[in-house]
């Protein structure tokens, strides 16, 4: 097990593991709509074809509806699957803030099965990162922003 998650310097998440299955089996789990739904989230419109657009519905936050907009950037059977992963809303901070990232799955055959490496890259960390964890000036700046988002959300949900 090798979870090298949260590489803060490169702003990417890496999960890298050897799984006791053939690359073909793992490829099937990564590229079959129904199977994707069983381990990740149920995609809408997924096809392992370059250029194909699809979505995932996740938890909404603030002014964001929770939809992740994806597009297949590369699909090399049993080897490499890359898709764009975009979502969020510019009025949000933290969860629900603008997200323009790329998810890459790389498969390579090894003696005991397949090495599967996931890289989720392109994270832009907020300037006041850590402000939530630590008392300080950052808080005073981020709190009004949250309030603005929250206000937007509440007013949009109120009956007119």
């Amino acid at each position: 097990m090798n979870y090298a998650a949260l590489k803060s310097d490169t702003h990417e998440i890496v999960v890298d593991e050897v799984l006791p299955h053939a690359p073909e089996t793992i490829w099937k789990a990564l590229t079959t709509g129904e199977l994707i739904g069983r381990w990740l989230m149920m995609p809408t419109g997924f096809e392992a074809v370059k250029g194909k657009r699809f979505t995932f519905q996740t938890t909404p936050g603030g002014a964001w509806d929770g939809v992740i907009h994806c597009q297949v950037l590369e699909a090399t059977p049993n080897e490499r699957l890359v898709y764009a992963w975009k979502g969020g809303h510019e009025g949000n901070v933290g969860y629900g803030s603008p997200l323009d990232t790329v998810v890459t799955f790389s498969l390579s055959r090894v003696e005991s099965g397949t090495r599967l490496r996931l890289v989720h890259s392109g994270f832009v960390l907020p300037r006041n990162d850590g402000a939530f964890k630590k008392m300080g000036e950052g808080w005073k700046k981020c709190v009004p922003t949250i309030g603005a988002i929250a206000g937007e959300q509440v007013s949009s949900k109120e009956p007119h």
Partner: protein, 109 residues
Amino acid sequence: MIEAAAINAVMRTLADPTRRAVFERIVGSDEITVVELTRGSGVTQGAISQHLKSLKQAGLVAERPEGRNVFYRAEPEGLAPLVDWMSHYGVFWRDRFANLKTLLKEIDP
């Protein structure tokens, strides 16, 4: 995934401008009493108490009784549901990898 209810509770609590102002004043001081919060706020002590109750329920504020006074302080963990994307996805992908391994065992025992 983060609970939608938790995100919405924090957002709803901070949506009210007066309540947000109260929260900001608590954040800006180590500890503060209702009397100090009321002073210069333009609203009654009863109203401040109501806002404090909401902030406590959302996990944004903690209280410490001492003698006849109650001191309030901000709880940084209360804003955790709004934590940044990268931390969110760090946990997310590890969970999903665990799901994937379970699924693979099922389809390819």
